[in-house]
């Protein structure tokens, strides 16, 4: 289990983390969701024993991250924010190097990395620097897995990666979970949250909510409407004057409008009609993590 108790981290005057607490249970795929600058990387560095918290304590498998850092370093696999690979070494050389660093070989742990490695194999003699973003990400993951860690800590593994590679990556994580790995992963993509068992939403160094993705969206306190109009930008401006409105945000080609409980479809329709806007569709929807996140932010 990863235990985080009242962790704070200050850099000079900046408070990167403010009394953060949560647990990651064994076998979980746990998501730490929040924008850049929320404190995700600081938390990862504390857990990976690279930083000492200003306050509070954390442990992995009952090993304290400060006192027992040597033990922790043996049981975790870590992928820092940037893909930390040797760009001038080939795929094979990178893997071999990291294998020997952990005193093991690719063959010994082939089982765990097989699926990912097979995707990399055609490029095994290519330099890491010449790989595409998606491939670099797969290689970095393989390197983090090479010593069969019990805990996998991935700091923004999908940043700067296209939707396809991102989807592949999450599929790999879910597969790894079936092999008993405990994973803590951070991401600024709200949609990624829905693939986790449990998520912590973090903003400005504070945890806003910890729960399963399902519960987080269920806890969303308002009725949420999806409105599609011809010119959503214009519609959003007009909606500012809608008295029942709690919040309104653009979501792709639609608008998500949170309204007071008593509001019904007719109210919205007539308001739009008064302002010469014709809605293509108006319906009640289930909120998404991003809706919940924005609700918690405001």
């Amino acid at each position: 289990m990863i235990k985080i108790e009242n962790i704070s981290k200050n850099y000079n005057n900046v408070k990167a983390l403010k009394k953060v607490s949560f647990n990651v249970k064994d076998g979980q795929l746990f998501g730490l969701i929040g924008p850049d600058g929320a404190g995700k990387t600081s938390l990862f560095r504390i857990l990976t024993t690279l930083l000492i918290p200003s306050e509070g304590k954390a442990s992995i498998d009952n090993f304290d991250t400060v006192k027992n850092y040597k033990e922790i370093r043996r049981i975790i696999g870590y992928m820092p924010e940037r893909f930390s690979l040797y760009m001038d070494l080939t795929v094979q050389e990178n893997l071999n190097f990291f294998a020997t660093v952990f005193n093991t070989t690719i063959e010994e742990n082939y089982d765990l990395i097989k699926d990912i490695y097979q995707m990399l194999e055609p490029f095994k003699n290519r330099k890491a620097g010449d790989l595409s973003g998606g491939m670099k990400q797969k290689l970095a993951l393989s390197c983090a897995l090479i010593h069969q860690p019990k805990y996998l800590l991935l700091d923004e593994p999908t940043t700067g990666v296209d939707p396809v590679s991102r989807k592949d990556f999450w599929e790999m994580l879910q597969k790894l979970q079936t092999k008993g790995l405990t994973t803590l992963v951070s991401t600024p993509f709200m949609d990624d949250a829905e693939l986790c068992d449990e998520v912590a939403l973090i903003q400005n160094g504070e945890i806003m909510s910890i729960d399963s993705p399902k519960n987080i969206t269920q806890k969303y306190p308002h009725k949420l409407w999806e409105i599609i109009t011809l010119n959503n930008y214009h519609t959003l401006k007009i909606l500012d004057n809608f008295t029942n409105k709690i919040s309104a945000f653009a979501f792709g080609n639609a608008i998500h409008l949170a309204c007071s409980e008593k509001t019904n479809k007719e109210d919205i329709e007539s308001f739009l009609a008064q302002n010469n806007i014709k809605a293509k569709s108006i319906k009640i929807i289930n909120p998404r993590i991003e809706d919940a996140f924005m609700e918690l932010m405001t």
Partner: protein, 246 residues
Amino acid sequence: MTAEKVIKVKKLNKTFGKFIAVNNISFDVKKGEIFGFLGANGAGKTTAIKMLTGILSSTSGEATVAGYDINKQRNKLKENIGYMSQKFSLYEDLTLKENIRFYGGIYGLSNKQIKQKTNEVLERLNLQKIENTLISEIPLGWKQKIAFSVAIIHNPKIVFLDEPTSGVDPITRRQFWNLIYQATQDGITVFVTTHYMDEAEYCDRISMMVEGNIKAIGSVEQLLVKYKSKNMDEVFIKLARNNENI
């Protein structure tokens, strides 16, 4: 919307040795449009943007941006475009005001114009209080909004945005897109890349690059119908998955 075309690309090619980074792409972008330029990592997006902004010369084919040839009239071209990316935007060790003044100076604005623009930007973003704060001390989301305002400080015909909202929180991301809409109201054409597919849906038209080719182009509705998808995420995956080579 007038049919004036501010970007015209015809059979544009770029090869590095044997590697074809951009393979005979052709497309137009209309004035005032928000044009989403999507593609997987390594599909050739960055190379294409570099050519269109006059940083990299093309191997063959032709293209004009804001009416200027991308190979022959680079200086004129650069005066008429703005550029902002996630990686490079503002000088961290200069204050907000100093950054605006610097970029204004680069584009040949007079002192009076710079002063006026500075006030405009500060007012629009509501940042008067932090005008003398170093950029390094400003949160990422605000920085990106400032960077965008700076990129259009000289009223360019077109602004190129390369993953401008990567890592920005959801509310600020939407505020950023509001700025984009405002800019298009002023007649600025926006050429944008993103990995957020909901943002792709904010665009008027989208092109999708796969392996150096433009595999699809059209409005969100057209693409959703054509590829029988619920959202752009699906469209993207369908298009990119057909070519498994990464």
